[in-house]
Amino acid sequence: MTQVATHHRELIFSPAIRIFHWIRALSIVVLIATGFYISWPFLVAPESSDVLVQGWIRFAHVIFGFALTSVTIVRFYLFFFGRSSIERRSVKDVLSINSWITQIKSYIWMGHLNKAGVYGPLQFVTYVGISLAALFMCITGLVLYANVYHEGFGGLIWEISAWFTALMGGLAQVRIWHHIITWAFIVFMVIHVYMAVWSGIRFKHNSVDSIVSGYDYHKDH
């Protein structure tokens, strides 16, 4: 007995996009956890001051901070110059009021979600916002980094960091905004995971798995 395929599959996320998504996800989770320790060191003091608890946690924060910075730069590049135009096509939807209405209606259980690219307009704007937030976190993070690590790369970016510090009105302002914007990522993550799961169930397509496998499935007619 031969099985007839009822669905066909389509590659929507290139390997690069998937890998960078998960590096970013891991970085953000680690950065939030270590960042909250740096803000309020909640672990008890070690037995000996030879164990640099704060030092190691800051080290992890810096490593994943650089990972996030690199991914943010590459992702901005890929969005504009990547071979597949599946992300760029969404700009068309953002500029169309009808697309906005269609997407918002589909979220309140009214009708299908039709879109030109891989993202809906509201989704796209949210991603642009979180990407800009990531950019801000990387810049403020590097400014704070330059103040702690004075040699090498920190020394290289010292002058521009000082300029940025003056622009923000002092290092305390850089630090407090770095903290406030963290919450954008926390709130975003919760909504993002829910929407990914929900839209897969509601619109009967491959949603969560597509950022792992890269494929979406559509029913044959």
Binding site: S39, W40, P41, L43, A45, P46, S48, S49, D50, V51, L52, V53, Q54, G55, I57, W109, G111, H112, N147, H150, A162, W163, T165, A166, G169, G170, L171, A172, Q173, R175, I176, H179, I180, T182, W183, I186, V187, V190, I191, Y194, W198, I201, R202, F203, K204, K219
Partner: protein
């Protein structure tokens, strides 16, 4: 030393020029030192430490000593604006006359409201005379913020009732260099804290000439005298940082040179004042130290004859040498992450948690509603 040879020669010729001018004091520095029981050796030690303070190589020591002796050739006008005189106190309130206060005494101080004998019309005349006679040559030091609201009417000084703004603008006109002594003069300080009804500003915001900002509430006597010495020696502004503060004094953060830094890296923190950690000299970050956001040389130079400084005494740095420190560094005994944000009286974490809670409730409602929603037609 090679890299500094141009600077060395500049200083040499500057001092030679100063030597040509007439001294403003009848007593030489040498005689003053003898009178106060300070030996030549102590004077040279002081010169060497000022050389190191200014980040200059050792051969400059002789020039520092020479500059100190010639300090009475440089006219200084010191204005008091909206302030508490704490910066002057920082300089003059010493248990014995030490070299820093003696130099301040020796420099040709033309006008200083706290220290001068004159008052009323006579004081006003002294100021006007000094500004006229040394036009283009005098060093102007300003202490205190400049109220600008209502055309500066919140501060009037002297018998003629001039506003502070008017006096500073006039004095700045003929000054060879301008030093803002203390955070108020530099950035507005406490007077400029929200809601700032008097419209107080730093000197740099009311005049359009370069100003050297000596942040600190107060700045240490070393930073004040060091800046005076730098001007006497070179006749120009030192290398300045992002907020126009001399790099030799404000080039590193308090945190960078803090004696408790090892405790910070180890994760050993004082939890409350008076606990065992506090007795053991643990890091004061969790009880609000703002050393990580503050540029100053307090840990290395300290205050009152190098006696102590806030962190050594057991309280965190309050970031007093930074712009807007009264608002930005509050609460002084909590870290920045626990700051109550202006206007909402809640921490960023509280607001974030409330938004997160609202999000979760919204998601829950949406998920439950989805169970009852009409399925999509194929």
């Amino acid at each position: 030393m090679d890299t500094h040879s141009a600077l060395y020669h500049r200083c040499k010729s500057r001092l030679a020029e100063l030597r040509e001018t007439a001294p403003r004091q009848t007593v030489t520095l040498d005689e003053k030192l003898k009178e106060n029981g300070i030996t030549r050796r102590e004077f040279m030690t002081w010169s060497a430490s000022v050389t190191a303070l200014l980040a200059l190589p050792l051969p400059f020591t002789n020039l520092v000593a020479e500059a100190a002796e010639l300090a009475d050739r440089v006219p200084l006008i010191w204005l008091h604006m909206a302030e508490c005189t704490g910066c002057s106190e920082s300089l003059i309130r010493t248990d014995t006359p030490n070299l820093d206060s003696l130099i301040f005494d020796h420099i040709s101080l033309e006008y200083h409201e706290t220290l001068m004998a004159a008052s009323g019309w006579q004081a006003e005349e002294n100021l006007e005379h000094a500004m006229e006679a040394y036009k283009g040559n005098y060093l102007l030091a300003v202490e205190g913020a400049i109220p600008t609201a209502n055309n500066g009417a919140f501060l009037t000084v002297g018998c003629k009732g001039h506003t502070g703004m008017q006096i500073v603008k006039e004095a700045a006109e003929g000054a060879a260099a301008i030093i803002s002594v203390g955070t108020c003069a530099a950035f507005g300080g406490v007077q400029a804290a929200a809601p700032n009804p008097t419209g107080s500003k730093g000197v740099q915001d009311v005049i359009d000439k370069p100003v050297i900002n000596l942040g600190g509430c107060p700045p240490s006597e070393k930073n004040i005298v060091g800046t005076l010495m730098y001007f006497i020696m070179f006749g120009k502004l030192p290398a300045l940082d992002m907020f126009n503060r001399p790099k030799w004094a404000y080039g590193a953060r308090v945190h960078d040179n803090c004696e408790r830094r090892g405790r910070f890296d180890a994760g050993e923190f004082v939890e409350t004042f008076g606990d065992q950690g506090a007795k053991d000299g643990y890091c004061l970050y969790k009880v609000g130290c703002k050393g990580p956001y503050t540029y100053n040389n307090c840990p290395t130079e300290r205050f009152n004859h190098h006696t102590s400084w806030p962190v050594l005494a057991g309280h965190g740095c309050i970031g007093c040498s930074e712009p807007n420190f009264w608002d930005d560094m509050a609460d002084f005994e909590k870290p920045l992450g626990r700051q109550l944000l202006h206007g909402v009286d809640a921490t960023a974490d509280t607001i974030g948690a409330v938004i997160l809670g609202a999000t979760v409730v919204g998601i829950g409602a949406h998920a439950v509603a989805s169970l009852f929603a009409k399925p999509l037609e194929e």
